[in-house]
């Protein structure tokens, strides 16, 4: 009864649609509720970069969430009411994000998904927090976002420390490495990942050796010689692919033989170009899985639906994270039976457990609103220079939270 599509053929509906069209042209945006025959819609906001540098990701967000919103409305809506998605473009820019936040609040949304990049999310999260709204970001990984005590802020992506947890567990349990070296380039990102890996390795009883490179250098043979001297089982480089490639190449030059692992900043085919396939093959890269490598039935169904609707599968894992953000909000509203942000946030913090997410089981959220577990995967560079999943069945299991 609440689905507009069932009534589209009636002449009354056509008249309404024509009227609606005029309203849309003159007012834009908020007129869409008129298409619903009954029930006050539940409005959910999407703050995403639809133009600018990140437009590619923002449009993917919109496609993913629209798909699920349509599915919700086709199957009877939410709490017996239709769901309406209100999309606002933040351009990836913090100033725009503030304006977007105000517009979404004025539009009367009950929850917000977004933004894409941490800078834009940070700007809007403050405003949504003051307005008392629930916000779920699919992709902003900056640690500080969840350190501000915003009780209604969540994310379906993982912080950098999740990758570290995965890498540490993988090296110790899957590879059986005992002597491990960590190499970083002192950038905020790479040092952070190395520091977290060190912490989790220590939790597993392993004291890693830390090496630091200067990314401006061309010559890494001194540090590689030191690594050679340390006789390690595995070395995890947390920096970027340009230096990663040089490390692999020059390691071969000085005859250093060790299992190399690299973080997701090295997840780039150029790594192989720089190192040469000979030197790059066998290197393991830890990263978020590609959408196609998500082994869960929810993921397979989502990818099928997405392909049917848009002609090609989702290209980025962040699009799937955005779908999960909507799924989490929908599930919370259904379970709590209300759209009250306070109640939804309380539920997500305390009772929400083991939800079958599209990006893998969502074990829950911690007190800061960060997603528990990890879905990172290990890819290995094969003889043809492709990144292929390393031991898929083993790596896909979400690792339980250590603490």
């Amino acid at each position: 009864m609440f689905s507009g599509k069932k009534h589209l053929t009636t002449s009354w509906q056509i008249v309404r649609m024509a009227a609606l069209l005029a309203v849309v042209i003159s007012l834009t945006g908020t007129a869409a509720w008129a298409a619903q025959p009954a029930g006050e819609p539940i409005k959910i906001g999407l703050q995403a970069p639809l133009t600018g540098d990140y437009a590619y990701e923002g449009k993917g967000f919109e496609q993913s969430i629209k798909l699920l919103v349509d599915q919700t409305n086709e199957t009877g809506g939410l709490l017996g009411r239709p769901v309406e998605l209100i999309v606002e473009d933040d351009k990836g820019d913090p100033k725009e994000a503030s304006l977007v936040a105000d517009r979404l609040i004025t539009a009367g949304v009950v929850a917000v998904i977004g933004g894409y990049n941490s800078t834009a999310t940070e700007a809007s999260s403050e405003i949504f927090n003051e307005a008392g709204l629930l916000q779920v970001t699919p992709s902003s990984t900056a640690t500080r976002l969840t350190t501000k005590g915003y009780e209604r802020f969540f994310r379906t992506c993982f912080l950098d420390d999740r990758q570290a947890l995965f890498a540490a567990t993988f090296m110790v349990e899957t590879l059986g490495a005992k002597k491990i070296g960590l190499v970083h380039d002192n950038s905020t990102y790479a040092k952070g990942l190395a520091d977290w890996t060190e912490k989790y390795l220590k939790d597993l009883g392993i004291e890693p050796t830390i090496f630091v490179i200067n990314p401006d250098d061309q010559d890494f043979t001194p540090v590689l010689t030191a690594i050679k001297g340390a006789k390690l089982d595995a070395v995890y480089f947390t920096g970027y692919h340009a230096q990663g490639g040089l490390l692999l190449k020059q390691a071969g030059d000085i005859g250093l033989q060790v299992q190399w692992l690299m973080g997701n900043a090295s997840n780039n085919p150029e790594l192989i170009t720089i190192a040469g396939l000979d030197r790059a093959k066998g290197t393991i890269v830890t990263t978020e899985p590609l959408p196609g490598d998500l082994p869960y039935p929810e993921a397979q169904k989502f990818i099928e639906d997405f392909t049917a609707a848009y002609g090609s599968p989702p290209a980025s894992v962040w699009w799937v994270m955005a779908a999960d953000a909507y799924a989490v909000i929908r599930h919370a509203i259904e379970t709590v039976g209300s759209t009250d942000s306070e109640a939804l946030a309380k539920y997500l913090h305390t009772e929400f457990k083991d939800f079958p997410g599209i990006t893998g089981p969502i074990l829950g959220f911690d007190e800061k609103g960060d997603r528990l577990g990890t879905i990172h995967k290990a890819y290995v560079i094969d003889d043809q220079g492709n990144f292929v999943v390393y031991g898929a069945e083993k790596a896909a299991e979400p690792t339980a939270e250590k603490q």
Partner: protein, 302 residues
Amino acid sequence: MELFVQQLINGLTIGAFYALVALGYTMVYGVLKMINFAHGDLFMWGAYLGWVSLNFALAAFLQNSVFAIAPVVLFVLFTVGVMGVIIERVAYRPLRSAGRLAPIISALGVAFILESVARNAFGASYKVYPPQLLPAGGIGLVGDVRLNYVQIALFFASVMLMAGLYLFVQFTRVGTAMRAVSLDHDTSRLMGIDVNRIIALVFLIGPALGGIAGMMVGLYYGSFDFTLGWTFGLKAFIAAILGGIGNIPGAMIGGFVLGIVETLGAGYVSPQWKDVIAYVILIFILIVRPTGLLGERVAEKL
């Protein structure tokens, strides 16, 4: 011990590159008493021209062959050398009587131009030399220490270039003229030396050697980008001062000393601290010997 030997080999390799580039600084200083700050960027252009022409040579007529390197080396020597001569003619010679500051600013300007043109022409991304061009493998020394054929080849190539230059400057008529010009332009002119031609020759040889060094760095370390000239050029400039600027054997020794000190610092302390270590030693050496390790006493000539 094994590690120490390996680090020494690493240090000598990068030191050979520093020395080759340092020669360009020191030769120009010798004849003009001017620091050619564009030299590092000519070196970077050597890396780009080598990369472009090597890819062309491989695609056009020599499939993955070591012999492709020979014509490319000549091309890079010639082209970067000519670039040096043109820069001298256009940007330095008109300012030769304009005091000391103007040519330095002009040189910095040329450096920025060369860097920007390289970035705009070739793009800001890393360029990668074709792999497997140089023969892999090497000889094992004590224990686990390896000396690659490539290291041996590059080391000897640079030492031979430097030795050739030294013999040229010491034992040929043109070399003698070069040394005369470095002592006094006016007197040299009175002796019938074409000072402008000698200076042009210096600007042909110095950048040519720098350009070859750029190509060798690209071949040996694998990848480079347009900032190569700045980082490497500065180090080579320091090597030239360390050895005694204006002094050709000094530039070679300065290059090797800096390479080894840096490598040992990076290997035994940390790459983060290697520059600190290298510069502390540099400052110390300059306090004890203000004219560098083999420096001439410049004061006498002023």
